[in-house]
């Protein structure tokens, strides 16, 4: 019996399914990310778990308890909203204390717990400020403290970092993970930012158009995306059109226009397949030494790496080159591209974009 179990939950708005048969078992202490583009139903799913949206079908179980139709106050879950939703007319301490007041916790106990949780999020010094007197990152931490202070069994985070600037967002990612680990709280986070999902989750749930398309650890998700959409949504990818000859041990893949063939362990359906490979798995060499030859068409400097595009008979490929010191070949120069065939994933063609 898992800690939190979402079973076949759907939400229809008229004939449109915002969420379609969502099923997920969450273990105690796990950090789960719901990842997907906007409109994929991830926030609706979170709101159904929080009790703010009624599911059209399915059940949500908390251990042995069916919470599908409980109103939010009785679910006792901690929720952090995208806009933080702090009470503007209350100080930080009053904001955090509110949930304890609702639980009729005695004043002395309340003060102690508010102090402890504010210390955890490093905001003890600002306890008497009003939300409008604080920065975005500080408000964010108030929102987390307010959700955590009631000791909820599950913490729900709705795009918690999307209103922060890039630098702060990265800092808060790790801060969020640290707090989650210290408290040991089961967490579900909604995000559209793949790097956020990969860096702090135990498992990532990818959603497309209301449906789950993959549930995996961040590493597996990145290395073995189940469909072309995921491979391009999570990280960058090169796609090559190819054909597959199926046989008993696997398949022989021939990349179009190149004469390159290799044995694949993946067994995608059909004859027409697409081979995808991450830019960082490709290397540039001298023209004659590569598996395939190409001409550099663009070169972008990203600081820690260069992103080079090379036109090859198989199509234009992006190559990520670590910034070791020397710049990569300039535009117009002939290069060779090398990769290990094991790093290639083969997926059924069709949805490949």
């Amino acid at each position: 019996m898992s800690f939190l179990s979402v079973r076949n939950v759907s939400k229809y708005y008229g004939p449109v399914a915002a969420v379609d048969s969502f099923g997920l078992d969450v273990e105690k202490g796990e950090f789960i990310s719901l990842l997907g583009p906007s409109g994929c139903g991830k926030t609706t799913t979170l709101q159904m778990v929080a009790g703010l949206v009624r599911p059209s079908a399915g059940t949500i179980m908390m251990g042995e308890r069916d919470i599908t139709h409980l109103p939010p106050p009785q679910r006792e879950l901690g929720v952090v909203f995208q806009s933080y939703a702090l009470f503007p007319h209350m100080t930080v301490a009053e904001n955090v204390s509110f949930g304890l007041e609702m639980r009729k916790v005695a004043k002395a106990e309340r003060d102690r717990r508010v102090k402890d949780i504010l210390a955890l999020v490093h905001l003890l010094a600002l306890a008497d400020r009003y939300p409008r007197e604080m920065s975005g990152g500080q408000r964010q931490r108030v929102a987390i403290a307010r959700a955590l202070v009631i000791n909820p069994p599950v913490l729900l985070l709705d795009e918690p970092l999307s209103n922060l600037d890039a630098q702060l967002r990265e800092e808060m990612q790790f801060e969020l993970r640290r707090i989650q680990q210290v408290v040991g709280i089961t967490t579900i986070m909604v995000t559209h930012d793949q790097s956020e999902a990969l860096s702090i989750s135990d498992r990532v749930v990818v959603m497309e158009q209301g449906r789950i398309t993959q549930v995996d650890t961040p590493y597996e998700l990145y290395e073995r995306p189940r469909n072309p959409f995921i491979s391009s949504f999570v990280g960058k990818s090169n796609f090559l059109a190819a054909t597959a000859e199926h046989h008993a041990g696997g398949a022989t893949i021939s990349i179009g226009n190149t004469g390159i063939t290799f044995q694949a362990n993946d067994r995608p359906k059909g004859k027409h397949v697409s081979v995808f490979i991450r830019p960082e798995k490709l290397r540039l060499t001298a023209p004659s030494e590569g598996q395939i030859e190409g001409t550099v068409t663009s070169r972008y400097f990203m600081g820690n790496q260069w992103l080079v595009s090379a036109k090859t008979p198989a199509g234009t490929l992006s190559v990520a080159v670590q910034n070791f010191g020397a710049p990569p070949p300039p535009i117009g120069e002939k290069v060779g591209l090398v990769w290990r065939n094991d790093d290639c994933r083969v997926l059924a063609a069709g949805a490949a974009e």
């Binding site: 703010l52 007319h89 209350m90």
Partner: protein, 290 residues
């Protein structure tokens, strides 16, 4: 140097020209009559010779030394306060419900709320007299369930009912405007923290609407305290409020200076009360809501 001077001039001229019509209007229709009323209040009145052009404070002494005027002022203040409280108690939840309504219903009910303002005050007030009168609808309904008829018309209750009816829109609209701007997830956050819907309203939603409630209650108080037709028609000849008192002095007693004195005293009292209330609430709300 000279360029900057000539550049400065149109900056002064244009705003003055633009505000000239409003300024003239204000001077001609507010300040001038007010000044004349103030002067009038210091003139003395003789029942045979009419208004004298001397200057005296005797009118003020008369008003401030007479129990009768005090009781009228006190009634005005009391009824205006009761009306304001009723408008808050009914209007604020009404504004909340309105702000949560869906598309077609919201405009329909907004129209219903503004409805009383669309009916002439005389027609509306006579409507109330018919409802509240001795053989009116209310007493008829009471009789139907076996309760003795009650005297409603020409009581303070009737005045408050009539005032509260017309004042509601002035409370609902400013509060509704503020509620429109609130983040709905703040209320949802209170729910997830264990607050009941009612607690969320009381502790989270309404405090954020404090400034709207403030402006609404200022409008309602000022209009109630200076209302004329409703106390005149529903209060009868005996129950006077400040405005009906002034009217009587001017048009029945023909003692214009005394009427002017009462008007000035009411104006000052109103001003003091409203400014004090405004300071009290606004400062608190400003500190919290920014």
């Amino acid at each position: 140097m000279s360029a900057s001077v000539s550049a400065a001039r149109p900056r002064m001229v244009v705003p003055s020209l633009l505000s000239a019509p409003a300024t003239l209007f204000f001077i001609g229709l507010v300040l001038l009559p007010l000044a004349l009323t103030v002067i009038l209040s210091f003139n003395s009145y003789d029942y045979t010779a009419g208004i004298q052009s001397d200057l005296t404070v005797s009118n003020y002494l008369t008003v401030l030394q007479d129990e009768y005027y005090y009781s009228t002022f006190w009634r005005t203040l009391r009824l205006a306060l009761i009306t304001t409280v009723i408008a808050v108690v009914i209007g604020v939840p009404e504004a909340y419900i309105l702000s949560n309504m869906r598309k077609p219903w919201r405009s329909i009910f907004l129209l219903v709320i503004i409805g009383p303002l669309l009916v002439s005050v005389v027609v509306r007030t006579f409507g109330w007299s018919m409802l509240l009168g001795k053989n009116g609808f209310v007493n008829g309904a009471l009789a139907a369930v076996g309760i003795e008829p009650v005297q409603l018309l020409y009581t303070e209750t009737a005045i408050v009912i009539g005032l509260a009816h017309i004042m509601l829109p002035f409370m609902v609209i400013p509060v509704w405007t503020v509620l429109q701007k609130l983040d709905p997830t703040v209320e949802a956050a209170a729910l997830t923290l264990g607050a009941s819907r009612f607690t969320a309203l009381r502790r989270i939603v309404f405090p954020q609407a404090a400034l709207g409630i403030l402006s609404g209650s200022l409008i309602v108080f000022a209009l109630s305290a200076s209302s004329f037709a409703i106390p005149g028609l529903l209060g009868g000849r005996r129950l006077k409020m400040a405005a009906t008192l002034v009217y009587d002095e001017f048009l029945i007693e023909l003692n214009w200076p005394l009427g002017a004195t009462i008007a000035i005293i009411v104006l000052l009292a109103n001003l003091v009360i409203m400014l004090a209330y405004n300071r009290l609430i606004e400062q608190q709300a400003k500190r919290k809501l920014g």
